[in-house]
């Protein structure tokens, strides 16, 4: 036991090596290190939520021109969440009548377990990873797909029609958005040639966001839907179904759902950073080992990783506080008619192009080729959307100026040229138009 050794090991995030040096190697030591790692990782995830909730409330308040929490714990309200948790913990446990006891009580526990399980493959710094599975991304997708069941449990077990409606919405949304998410994730997997999260970071001499920007965008939109955040938060739309699948939960049981949502958001931000922004890479500094053998570079890697993660978290909150909620049919239309086709085309194109590039090509040349490919696909997508939108506007008498309420008169942007005005019954619903069909903005005059 050497205090200096311990301090240096702590600073260089190599506590496992310290334990091996102190207690000798063996299966018992490894078990100790494994259990310690699991406890540390899950405790970290649970504790950081206290900070995340405060951060989100502060950020959204600032964006909405409010002050946010500013009473409990000093000027900045740092202890506001602690007080909230205290309140949640002291609340009475209420079971709604007719609730399914098993499902109702298992759901809050299982949802936190599912949210914590995926952190096992998150690489924080070189060598600081729960377990480097060679199927890392697949593992994440499997867990997040299985965790949808838990929401169904909560919604069904509550014996409440709003909870059940919320659960159905959540399942429809999450199951649908898994498709473009997996298709988009296949692009970086093709580029890296591995599904291991560590392997993907090692492959990013240039961050993949420059090689696969469209894939990054699709993945980002899918994670917004997967975490059920605005603009896709209609699984808990307050104005329609009160609070969705967790309406009947109170006290800390509700707190568990809240907790899982924040852990998940941070996780998806972390996965985005890992896959598209190069994770902990910082010009090779993250692999720096000092002269006496302590890998201090890991600390640099950790700081870089969390700087990127909190930037992504900020973007999540930015979107959350700026965009309005979209309708359920619009969400599913956006998914099946836009994101899935685009990601399929992208996957085919990237697979073929990456196969055509000979191995050993300069990384920058490869990046330029992929970037050009992405720009071409984006331009083609926009052009197709513009034509579809134009056709829709032309097919609508009145030039689409009235939206769904189509008045049969000649439009002002090309409504001429198709003969007699159509009867109203034949007017296609402009609200069902594909994405990109420009709906006119009507500014009410007060």
């Amino acid at each position: 036991m050497d205090i200096l050794d311990l301090l240096k090991s702590l600073l260089s995030l190599s506590l496992g090596d310290f334990i091996r040096r102190t207690f000798g190697t063996g299966p018992g030591t490894e078990l100790l290190i494994d259990i310690g790692g699991v406890v540390m990782l899950s405790t970290f995830c649970l504790l950081i939520v206290i900070f995340l909730i405060w951060l989100t409330r502060k950020l959204i308040a600032r964006m909405q021109d409010r002050i946010g929490p500013n009473r409990v714990g000093g000027r900045f309200g740092l202890l506001q969440t602690v007080a909230d948790v205290m309140k949640l913990l002291t609340k009475e446990v209420i079971h709604p009548s007719g609730a399914d006891w098993v499902a109702f009580n298992a759901a809050p526990i299982l949802i936190v377990i599912a949210a914590l399980l995926v952190w096992a493959v998150m690489p924080f710094a070189p060598g600081v990873i729960g377990v480097d599975l060679n199927i890392g991304i697949f593992y994440v997708m499997a867990i997040s797909s299985a965790s949808v069941i838990v929401i169904l449990l909560a919604g069904w077990g509550s014996n409440n029609k709003y909870a059940l409606l919320g659960a159905f919405r959540a399942v429809a949304q999450m199951v649908s958005y898994e498709v473009p998410m997996i298709l988009a994730l296949l692009v970086p997997i093709i580029l890296a040639g591995t599904m291991s999260t560590k392997g993907i970071i090692d492959a990013q001499t240039i961050p993949f966001i420059f090689l696969a920007p469209i894939s990054a965008l699709i993945f980002y939109i899918s994670t917004l839907a997967e975490t059920g955040r605005t603009p896709f938060d209609l699984l808990e739309a307050e104005s329609e179904i009160v609070a969705g699948y967790h309406i009947e939960y109170g006290g800390m049981k509700f707190g568990m759902f809240f907790l899982a949502e924040f852990i998940n958001t941070l996780f998806w931000a972390g996965l985005f950073v890992t896959i598209y922004l190069g994770g902990y890479r910082f010009f090779g500094l993250e692999n720096w080992v000092s002269a006496d053998g302590y890998p201090y570079g890991r600390l640099i890697g950790l700081i870089v990783f969390f700087a990127k993660v909190f930037f992504m978290y900020f973007v999540f909150d930015w979107v959350r506080s700026t965009l309005p909620r979209v309708r359920v049919d619009q969400i599913l239309n956006l998914n099946w008619k836009f994101l899935v086709p685009v990601s399929l085309v992208l996957l085919f194109a990237v697979a073929i192009v990456d196969k055509l590039i000979p191995t050993g090509t300069n990384a920058i040349v490869r990046m330029v080729i992929h970037l050009v490919l992405n720009v071409v696909i984006a331009a083609a997508t926009l052009e197709i959307l513009r034509r579809r939108g134009r056709q829709n506007r032309l097919a609508t008498p009145g030039g689409g100026s009235g939206g769904a309420v189509a008045v049969p008169h000649d439009g002002h942007d090309g409504g001429h040229g198709h003969g007699a005005p159509q009867p109203i019954e034949d007017v296609p619903d402009v609200l069902d138009a594909p994405l990109g069909a420009r709906e006119p903005v009507v500014v009410p005059v007060h």
Partner: protein, 182 residues
């Protein structure tokens, strides 16, 4: 040794929840127990150094098939509130059936994996090179598309799934006549 303990734990979980599935009166709880049973099987796959298969089990059986079953149960709420016992009284028929299955299983497994002779040394699980395990997913992917391996079954399965997908869309497609009525 620890492998055996974990195996027996997983087997106990799988079998117990499987028994719960067939004896539970509440259909929803039976579906939940079925999920636990699937989870136990996934655990056995992971124990046998096949993590990809284990995760596929999780993704397909819990993420998709259990979801389908639970949705089907939720749509039939009246069916769930029955208090009838799930057993019927065909004891003799089921006894004959299960004995037949047992006999076939014993025959087939005994033929495939003959018991070691009494004087043989008890073997432990063979050690697999970690490099082989690490690249198992890549090797599996290559064997799916290589002409010497499984390209034909793989492509046939994909065509079947695609046909099912197209078929389901066609069934859900609004007919031309019905469209006017809406």
């Amino acid at each position: 040794m620890s492998q055996q303990i974990i195996f027996f734990l997983l087997a106990a979980i799988t079998l117990t929840s499987a028994i719960v599935v067939v004896t539970m009166r509440n259909l929803f709880h039976a579906a939940l127990a079925l999920m636990v049973s699937f989870l136990g099987v996934a655990g056995i796959y992971i124990l046998l150094e096949a993590p990809f298969l284990g995760m596929a089990q999780l993704l397909v059986y819990i993420g998709a098939i259990s979801m389908l079953i639970i949705f089907a149960i939720m749509m039939t709420r009246r069916l769930m509130q029955t208090n009838e016992t799930p057993f019927n009284s065909q004891v003799i028929g089921s006894l004959i059936g299960s004995l037949l299955v047992l006999a076939i299983l014993v025959l087939v497994i005994g033929r495939l994996y003959p018991l070691a002779p009494a004087d043989a040394v008890l073997q432990t699980a063979p050690q697999v090179d970690p490099a082989v395990l690490q690249s198992s997913v890549a090797r599996m992917g290559r064997s799916f598309v290589s002409a010497e391996a499984y390209v034909l079954p793989f492509e046939l399965a994909s065509v079947l799934l695609l046909a099912a997908l197209v078929g389901s869309i066609i069934i859900a497609w609004p007919r031309r006549g019905e469209e006017d009525n809406q």
